[in-house]
Amino acid sequence: MDSFSGILMEAIELILSWDSDVIEIIMLSLRVTLCAVLLACVIGLPLGAIVGAFRFPMRTGVVVVMNTLMGLPPVVVGLLVYLMLSASGPMGVLGLLYTPTAMIIAQTILVTPIVAALTRQVIEDLNLEYSEQFASLGVRPIERIFALLWDARYSLLTVALAGFGRAVAEVGAVIIVGGNINHVTRVMTTTIALETSKGNLQLALALGLILLLIAVVVNILLMAIRGTAARAAYV
């Protein structure tokens, strides 16, 4: 087994070499993941906020479903999206299978429940603090959703980060719907899977280290913003 320092060296070399293939793979990973997280936020933030801020019949049921969907197995999502997008599936005519778009769709399905469920919790807590003041001011429901989302923005960064973590590390769904096609749908995780299957464990681990590094950078960035916000008592 290769030593850890050897893997570290290979990872550093891989980054320093600025190999165009590696850059392409990293960029595609980021593009797919960020698009999926963005879409998941567009859907999940309002959804979570509505469930968090309002009482309605069957609300507990909705919360249970949302929390359960957080644990969706990626392979199952991959298969479902494959069946939808397959040429013999209902959306086959769109020709989206084996494209980055298909990967974004699969990851959006994986990440949306996470964003919605965590947003629900954040908004519910904040709503508890605000609800009397909002009622007193005569804030209407739609304004209330926007105000809660805006005031919870720094907590919601962490929510988006949880979604990002899930998406960027996910391989089961994207390899099925993307096909791991070189220069088209090959991302960090599928490359790691491929190199592992080729027995290139050191390279696979080095790529894994780069993936980790990206996650660390994103985390530091968001935590810095959150830290500034915390000093302003905005969190």
Binding site: M27, L28, L30, R31, L34, C35, L38, S86, A87, S88, G89, G92, V93, G95, L97, Y98, P100, R153, G179, N180, I181, N182, V184, L194, T196, S197, K198, G199, N200, L201, L203, L221, I225, T228, A229, A232, Y234
Partner: protein, 274 residues
């Protein structure tokens, strides 16, 4: 101030998406459903750029197990099927999913094992006899167990040798349910014998101290075939470009490219198109 932070972050995000966008969407492409063994050997990385240079057609390879490749192709999710399980391929054509099957090339299977050689099969060339010895010794054997071409070939060889592996499943016969590379990684980790195609073995990077134990039996030839997915059944199939690729692979030039592909001086595939 904090609003500005937010906008900056959003802009940075969008910028990242922008620069990472696809460099001019390539429209002239076909999808080939193929197997991990072919992909892992590096043959495609060697061969496809030459084809693209000649014809301008980009070939996108989806590499999965033969079983899954055939199913994907039967769903119309691909233009060409390029796998190695002759009986299943012929069935694929008989079912009307494919147009016509052609032999492309062959390589051979080998059985690799640990240097301790617990079943004493090292150096044998009679695969049936070797398999009986492995079974009698109860030596660990790692199988793909994933309905792939290699898995099907392996099961056929066990049957020929008269060994009932289903009865030994979970004992000395271990089905990993993963691709060739995964099975090699797992098998070498538990000192098991593994049957693999030679191409994957030569290019495999995690051999450890494993060596080829059994090779050279004519029964272990591994024939690859190529089939155009039936455009009459799936209208989305790019029949013209797909046929162009098949014709090129079967042509003298294509066959020469296959023969030329070597790792460490060893030829991995032997063209045999008729």
């Amino acid at each position: 101030m904090f609003r500005r932070n937010f906008i900056a972050l959003a802009t940075a995000g969008l910028f990242a998406l922008g620069v990472a966008g696809p460099a001019a969407a390539q429209d002239d492409f076909i999808i080939v459903q193929s197997t991990t063994s072919t992909q892992n050997s590096g043959l495609f990385d060697y061969m496809l750029p030459m084809f693209q240079k000649e014809t301008g057609i980009e070939v996108r390879v989806v590499a999965v197990g033969t079983g899954q490749a055939i199913k994907n192709a039967a769903n119309g999710d691909g233009d060409v099927l390029f796998v190695h399980a002759k009986a299943s391929e012929e069935q694929f054509v008989a079912d009307g999913d494919g147009v016509e099957r052609s032999d492309v090339m062959y390589n051979d299977f080998v059985i690799v094992g640990p240097p301790s050689d617990p079943a004493g099969v090292a150096g044998m060339s009679d695969v049936a006899a070797a398999m009986v010895k492995i079974s009698d010794a109860g030596a660990a054997f790692a199988s793909r167990g994933d309905d792939s071409g290699t898995h099907k070939a392996e099961l056929r060889l066990w049957k020929d040798a008269g060994v009932d592996v289903a009865a030994a499943s979970g004992g000395w016969y271990r089905e990993t349910g993963s691709g060739m590379g995964g099975t090699l990684n797992t098998g070498t980790g538990m000192d098991a014998y593994i049957m693999t195609d030679r191409a994957t073995w030569i290019s495999f990077g995690n051999k450890g101290d494993y060596q080829i134990a059994v090779e050279g039996d004519a029964k272990m030839f591994n024939q690859y075939g190529i089939i155009l997915v039936n455009p009459e059944k799936h209208s989305n199939v790019k029949a013209e470009q797909g046929q162009k690729f098949i014709d090129w692979v079967l042509s003298e030039a294509g066959q020469a490219v296959i023969a030329d592909y070597k790792i460490d001086g060893q030829q991995l595939f032997f063209p045999n198109a008729k």
